[in-house]
Chain length 199, copies 4
DNA sequence: CGGTAATCGAGACGGTACGTCATGTCTTACA
DNA sequence: TGTAAGACATGACGTACCGTCTCGATTACCG
């Protein structure tokens, strides 16, 4: 996506202004109107860009959405401070992320991306690589520190622990059956800590 | 959807054959090709029915998918046996359901339904009422029995416990980052049991 | 159309109220909204009647229009007085008819009927039998009286004379390029009288 | 209709091939099956063109029919030779036109256009401008020459004379009560010439 | 007077076409 | 070569009407 700045060398260089305008237009439309209401025509018009230009750099609406969302999303992908305890680390990791999720209608965009994940293998991989694994890696580091500290057993089922942490968040985000608030975060972290045996 | 069998009494009664044909065609197409590839025209043709008849009873493709999926889904909504322990009960609840989920491409349909949930309030409620809450109720009963038995504290954060149980399953179903198998189910149930303090 | 009151004898007799309601509803809708806007569903609803009842007695929308229009139309099909001259007779025949045509949006209905005439042989015959020939017969009588009087030659090309009389009226009604008023009627009758040689 | 070739200059130019294919397909279908049997889908398929392309340039089936018919129709709109007499001129004008009308099922298309004329003011004007007035202009020239020659009075009621000429032709075309043949043309022209006083 | 039969209202049904919309490709002219 | 403009083929959308069909409820007549 939006990768090579200009394949070879000759010819007019890629317009950076167009690239930014497209991503901004897409992000705005996604979050304002929801992904269902966003068409490539609409993005092109809002960005003052031709459709051909979009398709030259992004192969589909979903790939565009991926890029458009990435910066906002990445905002909370910074390294997590070491608070000295598993409980503190997880709280420091999850709370700001959940606050971001609750602050804007990310559910709509997430669901649209997940729909694309189901039927596009290549997209699925890029999605996981950029949105899922980085966050799991952060939590993996935290659990590894807890093992090093002796807080939790060394044979902890890491992948399941990660699912216990992130699964409930996505669940509430997507299903909306219960609120995404700080109380939920506290109880969730309590549960995860207990689950991995750091009573 | 598909509810009112014939408001008053007069007029030609609704064709039960058409209703069944539509639901079957929809279910088949959804699970074979994925909801993105299914058009109302295709459902109508496969069911030997006119589009108008579909739209008379279902306002959208998603509402139709909801109904079409319901029967298959409901197959594992039977009452859960009392095994005598929280661990055994949860295993008896979750294992057959996860096996069903893993047996067919439900992820695609689920993601499509979730996309609709994000932008249709009414749909969201019906979705939760028919797909989410019945399963949560089953687990609520199990946790209530465990409290009665004294296995877990009476002040257990029930809703979060339910999310710890179901969130990871949906997470793996939708993101596909890890398999949905029996080993996962065992580890998940172990984790949940530990989380609610029935060490 | 609407013919046999009840084929044999047994059974519930045809509802005269329904028949009248249908014809009135059709006539109103035709002349108010134009035939293009009239649907059988609309006629049925306006008449408080079921579609099946309409189709039992009229095979098509056009046949219904034919009947619906007939009474209004027939209003000026009364016998023409003998004024003693060809000119006076034609004026007495044409003027009231043109006034009727100009008084309401008959053009729309006529054009719709003519469209049906082009593609339905049977309809064409009934249309001519009930709408065209009776008026031509009236004019034929007038020309015959003029021949008897010695006003015009006995070998007058009668059919062409009838077309010279009626053609211009339909022409203005349907094309709307010039008004349908009394001045037109006078000039038309003058022209026809001159054409058949009664200078 | 089909007018603006490309507003400014930029952008892909209109496909002339598509334009011609659409008009030809429409003309063929109209005259073969009659306008009632022609659907936009059928025109699109026959022309190998998308429906959207048709609707981009023509707002309705009738406007398309107008254009589709125009070229065939225009074939006899060539200037009329001066034969030296009103009778000869009118014959030279009317005979080839009536032969064209009689040669193909124009009645169906005409009736459909007239139906549109009744309910679309804008269409009515374009119809008259392109189909009615050019022919009337030809006849107007002929009558003017006859006046210049002293064949007919200078105060001849021109518009009525034109209706006496064309009205009967349309009448027979649309009602089909009498044939459109050369004998009719001769008698018609005789009648018109007599009517305007060139006995 | 009870049975038979044609009618009626309501309204669901299989079709067919409608006119619109979004996708992704393309063809120009300009930069 | 990259771009804005915008026309294009494709194909689904949701709606509207058509003419047919089942219902249950109403009348008549006829035995």
């Amino acid at each position: 996506m939006n990768t090579a700045p200009a394949a070879g060398r000759r010819g007019r260089p890629r317009s950076e202004a167009a690239r930014r305008a497209i991503l901004e237009a897409a992000a705005q439309l996604m979050l304002e109107a929801g992904p269902g209401e966003v068409s490539m025509d609409a993005v092109a018009e809002r960005a003052g860009v031709s459709k051909a230009t979009i398709y030259r750099w992004w192969p589909s609406k979903e790939r565009l959405a991926l890029d458009a969302l990435y910066e906002t999303w990445a905002e909370v992908q910074r390294p997590v401070p070491d608070t000295g305890s598993l409980h503190g680390d997880l709280l420091a990791l999850i709370r700001p992320w959940v606050r971001l999720l609750a602050s804007r209608p990310f559910g709509r965009v997430m669901a649209a991306l997940l729909a694309a994940v189901q039927s596009d293998q290549e997209f699925a991989e890029e999605y996981r690589e950029r949105f899922v694994e980085p966050r799991r890696d952060q939590a993996r580091d935290i659990f590894a520190r807890a093992i090093a500290r002796g807080e939790i057993p060394a044979d902890t089922e890491m992948e399941v622990a990660l699912d216990l942490l992130y699964g409930p968040v996505y669940h509430r985000l997507l299903h909306g059956h219960q609120p995404l608030n700080d109380a939920f975060v506290r109880a969730l972290v309590d549960g995860v800590v207990a689950a991995v045996g750091a009573g």
